[in-house]
């Protein structure tokens, strides 16, 4: 009797352990390695040593012991609450997906943004209903390149304004907020037009943010060429990048916005398909316009 009781109790635990580890395992291998455990362990050790060095009342006193334990539990509770509420407004776990990139992906994607004419398969591959992380699929949108491109654009804009002797540190902030406002307005306009045309698509807001952020790469190439080689080079490289971004956006959005038949290239009649086609073209055409608008004042 005793042996069977312990056996059944023993059997429950391994199952639970397996379930937890499988969830952690796939998450970690899919996106990032989990280095937090090691880091947080060393951090708490440092904290305690730091507190003692700062001359706190001696830890042997039971009251201060109790107070410290209470304080640390309060702090961890507060941190949990902040995390939970922050997750409600900014989906942090979804954001992590967009930053799961590696060097090979970034290189290939930058090449695609500047020269999209040879790429044939533009579909995003899925893995059991969830899109594959950008690390494994060149066609998946990411937020790393737009974020880095935005920051680089601001720095290059500061450099360009400096060559015109118009630089001051406030100007960097003005450029940054200006570009950010244009980006937000563009994403809102695209969202509004998607709502009006009632397109059933799985494009999320963050996807649209990523697609709108890809034009910064072309802008940086144009401005740097203009700084190095003069105005004709600026116009030439901007023209090339505008055409490249136009083709890139059309080929990417075609699969997401248009119906299946139209996306394969067959002519499909009907007012709705026409509207969708116009929508795709106008989103793609807005990119070169923004690219020119945001850079022409940098190269005089």
């Amino acid at each position: 009797m005793d042996y069977t009781a312990t056996q059944s109790g023993f059997r429950q635990q391994p199952d639970m352990r397996l379930r937890n580890s499988s969830v952690d395992g796939t998450d970690g291998s899919q996106l990032f390695e989990d280095t937090s455990a090691a880091a947080s362990g060393s951090q708490t050790g440092n904290q305690q040593a730091g507190l003692q060095a700062a001359g706190f009342p001696s830890l042997s006193d039971p009251m201060s012991n109790l107070a410290m334990a209470y304080g640390s539990s309060l702090a961890s509770q507060g941190r949990e609450m902040v995390d939970k509420n922050l997750d409600r407004f900014i989906p942090i776990s979804k954001l992590k997906y967009y930053f799961a990139v590696d060097t090979v992906y970034v290189g290939k994607k930058l090449g695609l943004l500047v020269f999209p004419y040879m790429h044939e398969n533009w579909e995003v591959s899925y893995q059991q209903d969830t899109p594959v992380a950008p690390r494994f699929d060149v066609n998946a949108p990411d937020l790393y390149i737009p974020a880095m491109g935005f920051i680089t654009y601001i720095l290059v804009a500061g450099l360009a304004l400096g060559t015109q002797n118009k630089f001051s540190p406030e100007l960097l902030g003005v450029q940054a907020s200006s570009a950010l406002v244009w980006l937000i307005m563009e994403v809102l306009a695209v969202l509004l037009s998607l709502y009006l045309v009632t397109v059933n698509t799985d494009l999320t807001t963050i996807d649209l943010l990523a697609f709108s952020g890809y034009k910064y790469v072309g802008m940086i190439v144009g401005v740097v060429a203009g700084l190095l080689f003069g105005k004709p080079a600026y116009y030439l490289s901007l023209l090339w990048c505008c055409a490249a971004i136009f083709v890139f956006m059309i080929r990417t959005l075609r699969l997401k916005l248009l119906s299946e038949a139209a996306a394969e290239g067959r002519l499909v009649r009907g007012a709705r398909n026409q509207l969708r086609m116009y929508l795709t073209m106008s989103i793609a055409a807005a990119q070169p316009i923004f690219m020119y608008w945001l850079t022409y004042h940098l190269i005089r």
């Binding site: 907020s177 200006s178 950010l180 406002v181 307005m185 009006l196 045309v197 009632t198 709705r272």
Partner: protein, 82 residues
């Protein structure tokens, strides 16, 4: 051309105010954009006009109370700080 985030907030408040003051009976019905003229069929193709009408009506319904609060706050802040 120097946009700031503050001007974006201003634009948003002004636009939502503009949509909120569109009166159904006195104004929109004259254009054929009233409450009863919008939702035609229940098929899967509402059309652009029906979507716009739904959007206007939903903005007016949802944003009425928050707009009162935001406008009052804006008035107070502009009076105090110019």
């Amino acid at each position: 051309m120097a946009f700031t985030l503050y001007s974006l907030i201003q634009t948003a408040i002004l636009c939502i105010n503009a949509v909120a003051v569109l009166h159904e009976e006195r104004f929109l019905s004259k254009f054929g954009w009233g409450v009863d003229q919008g939702v035609g069929g229940f098929g899967d193709d509402p059309g652009v006009k029906a979507q716009i009408l739904t959007l206007i009506r939903s903005v007016r319904t949802v944003m009425r109370v928050p707009l009162i609060i935001v406008n009052a706050a804006c008035i107070v802040l502009l009076l105090l700080f110019g």
